[in-house]
């Protein structure tokens, strides 16, 4: 950990003043907000992140979970992951989200981690964490170690020659499928970011994870009214039964009309630099019967551009099977 100063403002405005006039995105900022600390402090100890100053927002009044007009739910940015997952409204109306959160990390970490912080988690790529190795995300221009190295846990979709890291969150996969809205506030006032636009693909600037500006603060995550409580699930495949990041995960949500799919939502975790959604795959399912065959077809569409690296090509087949399994579970379709 490098030397840094610490400040604990008592209001959102004061917090924003703490990060005012920082250019660029929050990933690059020298002054960082800290709330749960579960990822930032870890990365600071590993010398991967080196902020000059931490602004502790953990006590700001942004920890509520509230109803919003139109039937949705507003998750405070500072509500803890565990409180969110066990919230009765979340469990009843957004069970896929609850399941996704509880599939991530450990009970202790979920007690600490905040909803806003979950969105800003950084990749678990070995090379990103090991400062003795090249990594374009950690240090632009040094190359991607994983591309020619150990890449079993890396991306099969949306990667670039500069970075094949994946986003590690489970919660975000469910939020992507739910089409959540990220509410942020900054010097120019409030704005909303559709979930699909919050995280980025690496391209040639993999050091930037999200579109959140360096002088902005996440205040809440809005869940739309449609929670797919009837027909949804979150499926996570990992190397051990718990406390491990996803090799592949699937958030699957369906709106059914009898056995016919009206709407489908499908998001993948562990496969790309952001939670992976593909409208074409979802459109493939709309209007069709909920059958294994159609689920397989949708998975093929979703994975049509998937590309494996030396150690992770297995993820393509695994993702296909996981998608079919998750959709079948969501639809209540018997697997033979």
């Amino acid at each position: 950990m490098r030397a840094f100063s610490y400040d604990r403002p008592d209001s959102v405005d004061a917090a924003l003043r703490g990060v005012a006039n920082q250019p660029g995105t929050t990933t690059e900022a020298a002054v960082k907000f800290v709330a749960g600390g579960t990822n930032l402090l870890d990365l600071m100890k590993a010398d991967v992140m080196r902020p000059d100053r931490l602004v502790d927002i953990s006590r700001l009044n942004l920890d509520k979970i509230e109803e919003v007009d139109g039937g949705g739910l507003r998750l405070g940015a500072l509500a803890r992951n565990s409180d969110t997952a066990y919230d009765a409204r979340v469990q009843a109306r957004y069970p896929m989200l609850s399941k996704a959160i509880l599939a991530g990390a450990s009970a202790q970490l979920r007690n600490m981690a905040t909803n806003g912080g979950n969105l800003l988690q950084r990749t678990r790529c070995y090379y990103f964490y090991d400062t003795g190795t090249p990594c374009n995300k950690r240090e632009p221009g040094t190359g991607c170690g994983a591309l020619t190295g150990v890449n079993r846990i890396h991306a099969i979709l949306g990667a670039s020659d500069h970075c094949i890291a994946v986003h590690p969150s489970d919660m975000c996969v469910a939020l992507a499928a739910l089409e959540a809205i990220v509410r942020v506030t900054g010097p120019k006032g409030e704005r909303t970011i559709p979930f699909a636009d919050f995280h980025r693909l690496p391209g040639d600037t993999p050091h930037i994870d999200s579109t959140l500006a360096a002088d902005e603060l996440i205040t809440a995550i809005d869940l739309p009214a449609k929670g797919f409580a009837e027909h949804s699930t979150y499926l996570k495949v990992r190397d051990r039964a718990s406390y491990a990041f996803a090799l592949v995960s699937v958030a699957a949500a369906l709106e059914l009309d009898g056995q016919t799919i009206r709407t489908a939502r499908l998001a993948l975790g562990g496969v790309a630099h952001k939670p992976w959604r593909d409208p074409a795959a979802e459109a493939e399912l709309a209007g069709k019967p909920a059958s294994l065959e159609n689920f397989r077809e949708a998975s093929r569409v979703l994975l049509r551009d998937a590309k494996g690296q030396s150690h992770n090509a297995f993820k393509i087949g695994l993702a296909e099977r996981a998608i079919v399994r998750a959709l079948a579970e969501a639809a209540g379709v018997e697997h033979p």
Binding site: M1, R2, A3, K45, D47, R124, Y126, Y127, Y129, D130, G132, T133, G145, T148, G149, V150, R152, I153, V237, D239, R240, A241, S242, Y243, A244, F245, L247, F314, G317, L318, R321, A322, V324, R325, H335
Partner: protein, 760 residues
């Protein structure tokens, strides 16, 4: 005449537990300390003015350091010094000065010795500062320039130049000469299997990271709190490397947070802490980070081939086991994984070959059941494959080829209750209900499989010395400079001593982890009960004989005229076997003889002669049930029965825990544990607990441990063989065989991860 002290006789009032203590499921005597946070580990001895060290690790795998710029680190207020090869004090040149009790043949690694880089993550500098955080910060400011050379970390490539080692490490014999003609027999066999195996690199990863706290005293002497499996090994190393006398170095390590072999050799944090303390003349602690726990020894990667030939009735006609393992450029680490393959089954044609390949890694290091943990699963998976090909029950095949003598040497086993393990284990598991066809059991998308395997480990004994001091108040203190890395040594030794002198447990305390105590060997290889326990027994036997002699010599005593053999010890008393009402308490005997204390020391010496005439080993039968998700390739080990024959069990509660834990290790070995190397960088990449997966609670389900009764007068006076290693051996094979039974896929590359199941 000395006035008799007026000490009440506490034994008369204490709550005696009648009968023997050996064999009782006594709760750990140090349990309370461990559950209250009172047990102190190496990094937990704090002292005013303690300085903290942080190690800088190499970015390259092989080459030289051209320059180290430490100026920015040294410029920070509160940084005391940065040690590198450039400013280190004079250090010994001869290899023998750097050797430790577990060193194999060769030249041990010397931290900060010169500019040479031997392996990635090699320690290359130590920052010492007034706080841990400052030392860590300053370490980040050190700029290193390297000249990199080509490195070799790929065992497949390195194996082209593999060589046959000699007897290069204690505890391991080179393979026996071939018996018969195994290759010819294999070619002519009615049924045969021929399989290749790989075993990934595994790191010990005890929960406590390696740490050493060196307390510097004004007279220049040191108290060292080190994470070690042998305090004397630590002391000897420090004295040799830093040219100090034994009087000047006392090692005190009462608790060790797991080790599993990682503490068998002094690791570099010890060197660093002593270097800093002696140079700066102040107390220093150096604690490794979790990634740095991947910077020293590991279970070596292995490439193996096992080929078996058999007659149609299952009689083995050929056993071939070939293995290549990695070692470093400077030492010959051997664990001869093939030898057990010549010992397990009766077979006339056996060829065992073992080779080493040099790589640019740190020298590998014994890890739980070194050798057997890697080699036996290969044999046992091959046996399962042979059984499948023969259409035979895998258990029947093993019984068919059962041997009562060690075919490697022709010697009989001192005891071998493996048949009973098979029988009791199979019964508990319900093995007879197995439908033998693969893929014949399922529940929805879950394929269910049952597999079994045999385990074996050597029963060993070393010399040890124990001291004992019996007070007139009836308290007994026994000590030996061994360690307790978790097996329950405090408890087992306490039980042995209490048993022999007929004392309640709470009257006895056992001391360990201190070089001021009598000599004990390294704690490893499951030999602590055998070695130290025998010394404890020996010294307590002496006290017992003395007391008996005194008691029968008391003129007005109730035991007068009896022989020592006519007495037994219980409830703190010496009691006539013929009439239990004739008794004297230990306190009475001592008081009557004007003794305040009774002290002695004894050395245990193995029964070399009879041991030489026998093969000594522990055995086990493991039965496992898995559920494999057919779509996703995930595996759950739902049930394991491990039946173990390990001689006498001193404490079934702690021994059961050892076997449970070892089965958990076996689950990790079978399904999860793998340190992955980036061959281009020559570097281990998943060097943390997030990505090096050890089993978590949710991975572990029903585990049933059976201790089969086994009597043995040859292994040692206690008849106890030790259970630290046997529990892991064979478990990966039982799981791999269960996966075959579930899926029909024969997987021979450990760990068997999702990708391998889906890919096969």
């Amino acid at each position: 005449m000395i006035a008799k002290p007026t000490i009440p006789d506490p034994l008369e009032r204490s709550n005696p537990r009648p009968g023997a203590q050996i064999g009782k499921p006594v709760s750990r005597v140090d349990g309370r300390l461990k559950v209250t946070g009172g047990a102190k580990y190496a990094a937990e001895f704090n002292t005013p003015g303690l300085a903290h060290g942080y190690i800088v690790s190499s970015a390259i795998a092989r080459g030289r350091i051209l320059a180290i710029d430490t100026s920015k680190a040294l410029a920070l207020p509160g940084v005391f010094q940065v040690f590198t090869h450039q400013n280190r004090p004079s250090l010994p040149w001869f290899d023998r000065k750097w050797k430790d009790d577990d060193a194999p043949k060769g030249s041990p690694f010397r931290p900060l010795y010169d500019a040479t880089i031997h392996h990635a993550l090699q320690p290359i500098a130590l920052v010492v500062a007034e706080s841990f955080e400052l030392a860590r910060y300053a370490a980040r400011l050190i700029h290193v320039t390297y000249e990199a050379d080509e490195h070799q970390t790929d065992l497949h490539a390195a194996s082209a130049d593999a060589f046959t080692p000699g007897k290069d490490k204690g505890g391991f014999q080179p393979p026996p000469k071939p018996r018969g003609d195994a290759d010819k027999a294999l070619a002519e066999a009615e049924v045969s299997v021929d399989l290749d195996f790989t075993q990934a690199v595994e790191h010990h990863n005890p929960m406590e990271m390696h740490a050493s706290t060196v307390i510097y005293h004004n007279d220049g002497t040191l108290t060292v709190h080190d994470k070690t499996q042998g305090p004397i090994n630590t002391q000897t190393y420090v004295c040799n490397v830093f040219d100090l006398s034994k009087d000047a170095v006392r090692v005190i390590s009462p608790f060790v947070g797991g080790a599993f072999g990682s503490g068998l050799r002094p690791q570099h944090q010890l060197f660093m802490a002593v270097l800093a303390a002696t140079t700066l003349k102040r107390s220093v602690r150096v604690e490794l980070s979790r990634p740095q726990m991947f910077s020293f020894g590991h279970r070596p990667e292995a490439l193996q081939r096992v080929a078996l030939g058999a007659k149609k009735d299952g009689t083995l006609t050929a056993v071939i086991h070939e293995a290549v393992q990695e070692t470093s450029q400077t030492e010959n680490y051997v664990e001869v994984v093939v030898n057990w393959s010549g010992q397990q089954y009766k077979c006339d044609n056996v060829r065992l070959d073992y080779k080493l390949a040099r790589m640019d890694t740190h020298t590998p290091l014994d890890q739980r059941a070194p050798g057997a943990a890697t080699g036996v699963p290969a044999l046992e998976i091959a046996m399962d494959a042979l059984a499948a090909k023969l259409g035979m029950d895998p258990l029947e095949l093993r019984l068919k080829n059962y041997t009562e003598v060690d075919p490697n040497t022709g010697k009989p086993f001192s005891s071998k209750e493996l048949r009973a393990c098979f029988q009791q284990g199979a019964e508990r598991f319900g093995w007879h209900k197995r439908s033998h066809a693969p893929r014949s059991m399922r529940e929805g998308r879950q394929l269910i499989g049952w597999g079994m395997a045999t385990g074996v480990w050597d029963a060993m004994q070393g010399q040890a010395v124990a001291s004992a001091r019996l007070g007139i108040d009836g308290t007994l203190t026994v000590g030996s400079a061994t360690a307790d890395i978790g097996p329950g040594t405090y408890t087992a030794m306490t039980q042995i001593a209490a048993d022999i002198l007929g004392l309640p447990i709470d009257r006895v305390s056992f001391q360990l982890g201190d070089t001021n105590l009598p000599m004990a060997p390294l704690q490893g290889g499951s030999w602590t009960v055998s070695s130290v326990g025998s010394a404890v027994k020996a010294v307590c036997d002496r006290l017992r004989d003395k007391l008996a002699g005194l008691a029968v010599g008391l003129n007005d005593g109730p035991l007068k005229g009896l022989k020592a053999d006519d007495l037994h010890f219980a409830d703190g008393c010496l009691i006539a076997k013929s009439d239990p009402s004739w008794r004297l308490s230990i306190t009475e005997v001592m008081r009557a003889n004007d003794l305040l204390v009774l002290e002695d020391e004894a050395r245990s010496i193995p029964y070399y002669k009879s041991q030489m005439q026998h093969a000594l080993g522990t055995h086990s039968a493991i039965f496992a049930e898995v559920r494999v998700d057919e779509d996703l390739g995930t595996v759950q080990v739902t049930r394991v029965v491990s039946a173990v024959a390990a001689g006498r069990i001193i404490n079934p509660k702690t021994a059961r825990s050892q076997v449970l834990g070892a089965v958990v290790w076996g689950i990790g070995m079978a399904l999860e544990e793998e340190t992955m190397t980036d061959q281009r960088l020559g570097r281990f990449m998943n060097h943390d607990f997030g990505e090096y997966h050890i089993p978590v609670n949710a991975d572990v389900h029903d585990i049933d441990v059976i201790f089969v009764e086994e009597h043995d007068d040859i292994v040692n006076p206690l008849g106890a063989k030790g259970v630290g290693e046997i529990g892991i051996v064979g478990v990966p094979a039982a799981i791999a065989n269960a996966i075959y039974h579930a899926t029909g896929k024969r997987l021979c590359d450990l760990p068997i991860t999702v990708d391998k199941i889906l890919g096969a």
